[in-house]
């Protein structure tokens, strides 16, 4: 059993001359809910894209449960689930058809039983034959979570999962994330802007600034380390503003 779910070593990526991620050294333990914070353009999505094997690193390496994202890319893809930000599914297909499509891409030959199980877990049954074009943003986000856990991934990557959700949707999603972690011990890596959500969901956090990781610790230790700050938002802004690493 590997205690480290995600480990990056000097992980870097450049888009042409522009360095989006600079030597990321990060470690996330198994069963943690890790929140990666940072302003727009800080490199959060690039980090997730690298860890989900969507783009190759320019330099450095990373492992997911001991599997190298480059050398063992296909094995990593079987191990992880991923929900990108603002993803749209096939609106002219029903929920069941969409989930069958993604289940088969994940290697599930007869996926219906598993789809039913996942929809029951998400308390989302009764919509199987409805077209996704009729779904609200919150419902579509549940579809997103459903497709990402169909193949029982051990590590789940969520890119701004609460983006565009109303307060009820945010609360529902928070419960789902916590349940996935509690019931299945799933390691969850999420990029987010909503610091209130981080406080209620994450066990550890990291802060990216202009492609560099400027802070990483457990949430409890973070709250203790900044006794003068009233909230995580204040702590985040404090970390973001300080000049030294």
């Amino acid at each position: 059993m590997n205690d480290t779910a995600i480990k990056t070593t000097e992980l870097s990526h450049s888009y042409g001359p522009k360095a989006a991620l600079k030597g990321l050294n990060l470690s996330v333990g198994e069963g943690e809910i890790f929140g990666l914070l940072g302003h727009n353009g800080a490199g959060k999505t690039t980090a997730v894209s690298l860890l989900t094997t969507l783009i190759p690193p320019t330099e450095g390496t990373a492992t997911i449960l001991g599997l190298d994202i480059h050398a063992d890319a296909d094995e990593v893809r079987r191990t992880i689930g991923y929900l990108p930000e603002n993803v749209q599914f096939y609106g002219n297909l029903t929920l069941l058809e969409n989930l069958r499509f993604f289940a088969r891409l994940s290697g599930l030959d007869k996926p219906d039983a598993r789809i039913r199980e996942v929809l029951e877990f998400l308390d989302f049954t009764g919509h199987e034959s409805e077209r996704l074009s009729t779904f609200s943003k919150g419902m579509r986000q549940r579809v997103g979570i459903a497709q990402s856990i169909l193949h029982n991934p051990k590590v789940l990557f969520l890119d701004e999962p609460t983006s565009g959700l109303d307060p009820q949707g945010v609360r529902n999603l928070r419960e789902i994330i916590l349940n996935l972690n509690r019931h299945f011990g799933m390691t969850i890596f999420m990029n987010t802007h909503l610091l209130a959500e981080v406080t209620q969901t994450c066990t550890s956090i990291g802060v990216l600034r202009e492609g560099e990781l400027v802070y990483q610790d457990s949430l409890a230790a973070t709250l203790t380390a900044f006794p003068d700050e009233a909230s995580l938002e204040d702590i985040y802004l404090h970390i973001e503003a300080r000049p030294e690493r």
């Binding site: 969507l54 991923y82 990108p84 930000e85 749209q88 096939y90």
Partner: protein
């Protein structure tokens, strides 16, 4: 947009036979009057014409509308996945880009085959109605052969659309670039190689190279790139057009080579290229 192009294409295929029949009626009527006035003793040029003559105009509709439809379908199939970030969902799974793009292409080819099968049925029915008897098995086989050829001709355009959908930074560019390439292949290259007037390139009969030395040389160099001229050449042969000469083998080889090259480029597309964001 694809729905409009599809409707226009199917409508034109239907109209194609009617246009051929009307041409026959007009020429025969003029011929009859000319013959009655004793101005000619030659036989009616339409008396020995093959029933497949009526499908001749379909060649041009496939080059003009069919190719555009293929391009639009190809572009939309890939650019939609980029815009919607569906490629991210697919490629974060153990799926090879070549497998996914190949499957998408196979789906599109099935769809295009369905459209062409419908067009073949329309052509067969309307020609049979015009000539007043069911097409012979030989002519039916030739008609089906022509539509199979059309499928092969459209294949590179579907792939071209898919590729620009993957590689372009903007949606407008993704549509514009393959249309420009189609225009060059359809009009500019044949014109450079044959000195034919652009309008004459819309004739289903292949353009004949000018006897001028420069054009002979240009035809030698650019001839293999004249995909539409090769399609016209092979179609004319398959449809039994007596006005065409030579073998369709070279044309078939060129069409297969085009399709093969495009397929190789498509199937070697890189994972990170497929999910690159659009500028808009």
């Amino acid at each position: 947009m694809p729905q409009v192009l599809l409707a226009v294409f199917v409508g034109m295929v239907t109209a194609s036979s009617v246009i051929g029949w009307l041409t026959n009626q007009v020429v025969t009527s003029v011929y009859d009057r000319t013959f009655a006035a004793g101005l000619t003793t030659q036989p009616n040029p339409f008396s020995a014409v093959s029933p497949l003559y009526y499908a001749k105009n379909t060649v041009i509709y496939i080059i003009l509308i069919g190719a555009l439809l293929a391009i639009v379908l190809g572009v939309q199939s890939t650019i939609r996945d980029r815009k919607a970030h569906t490629f991210d969902l697919v490629l974060s799974r153990p799926v090879r880009p070549a497998s996914y793009l190949g499957a998408k292409l196979a789906g599109l080819l099935c769809w295009v085959a369905g459209i062409l099968a419908l067009s073949a049925l329309i052509s067969w029915t309307s020609i049979s109605a015009i000539v007043g008897s069911v097409l012979s098995p030989g002519d039916t086989a030739r008609l089906l052969g022509f539509y199979a050829l059309a499928w092969l001709f459209l294949l590179p355009f579907i792939i071209l659309g898919m590729l620009t959908g993957v590689y372009s930074r903007r949606e407008t560019t993704a549509l514009l670039v393959p249309i420009v390439i189609w225009s060059v292949v359809t009009f500019v290259v044949p014109q450079l190689g044959t000195a034919a007037h652009p309008v004459s390139l819309l004739n289903p009969v292949p353009a004949i190279a000018s006897q001028g030395g420069v054009f002979q040389l240009a035809n030698l160099v650019l001839g293999p790139l004249s995909l539409t001229e090769h399609f016209k050449q092979a179609s004319a042969f398959v449809l039994g057009d007596t006005a065409t000469t030579g073998s369709p083998l070279l044309s078939l080889v060129v069409m297969v080579a085009f399709a093969g090259c495009m397929l190789v480029v498509l199937l070697t597309t890189q994972r990170d290229r497929m999910r690159s964001p659009l500028d808009e």
